[in-house]
Amino acid sequence: MAGSLIQVDTETVTSNVSSVSLTGVSTNDVYMIACSNIFFDSNDDMKIRFTVSGSADTSSNYDYAHRAMYNNATMGSTGAENQSSLDTNQSTGTSGTNSINLIMYLFNFNNSSEYSFVTYNNVHRASSNTRTGFFAGGGLLTEAQTTDGVHFFLGSGNNFANGTFTLYKIQS
């Protein structure tokens, strides 16, 4: 039988919230997160942490690398280790025309003896300079533990004003 996507959790934001938590990873399958039409109440960077029993792991054990591509600026590669979160986009966006749209895959989250990994592709558009950006990258939490989801928040303490965040299990 062919595999299928099974919806595990969905969070719909229509009023300002400072963070969004998607949880429900409970098997060893690969999981996928789809985020669409995300924008903020003020320009900011969207960051993520992994959740342990529903709460964000705020340790400084996140490593990441991504390629940042822009329509009107030099492309660049960015990477860092021992960070307190993973960075997913350039500063965006306060309306639907300056939104973030992202697909992320989650690996090993339910495995207590392995690190948790994600890969992501993210197209977005900055409000301040109408710069289209595409980030392709990945990251991990270098702690061998079970993680059960992803916590989204903004670097400068602003709010998500809109967006749909959905977690799917990829049933093999």
Partner: protein, 105 residues
């Protein structure tokens, strides 16, 4: 003058507390419910805000310069025409990017 992490922490605490106390409040989305943040959430927001401000202050010029520099291809083109015309457009471009986005002292 550059601010310290402690100064940014004080600044963020004040800004976020004002937002939390206002009619807007500060909320989070969990289990598709919009809930008021708790004190632990607030404390983490202050830490994240202060660290972010410190990073922007200390390292923001690096990202700004990366975005402002012309592509390698365009810089090579500038250098070629500088060699042909005995001009300094490439050096001028680099100098302008640096002066427009100064390294904090």
């Amino acid at each position: 003058m550059a601010k310290t992490l402690e100064q940014f922490t004080t600044e963020c605490t004040s800004e976020l507390q004002a937002k939390r106390d206002s009619s807007d409040g500060i909320y989070k989305n969990v289990n598709n419910e919009r809930l008021a943040i708790n004190d632990s959430d607030f404390a983490q927001m202050v830490i994240d805000c202060a660290n972010n401000k410190l990073d922007v202050q200390d390292n923001g010029y690096i990202k700004a310069r990366q975005l402002a520099y012309a592509s390698v291809q365009d810089q090579l083109d500038l250098q070629y025409w500088d060699s042909v015309n005995e001009t300094t457009t490439w050096a001028d471009h680099i100098a302008k990017v640096k002066s427009d986005n100064p390294k904090p002292s």
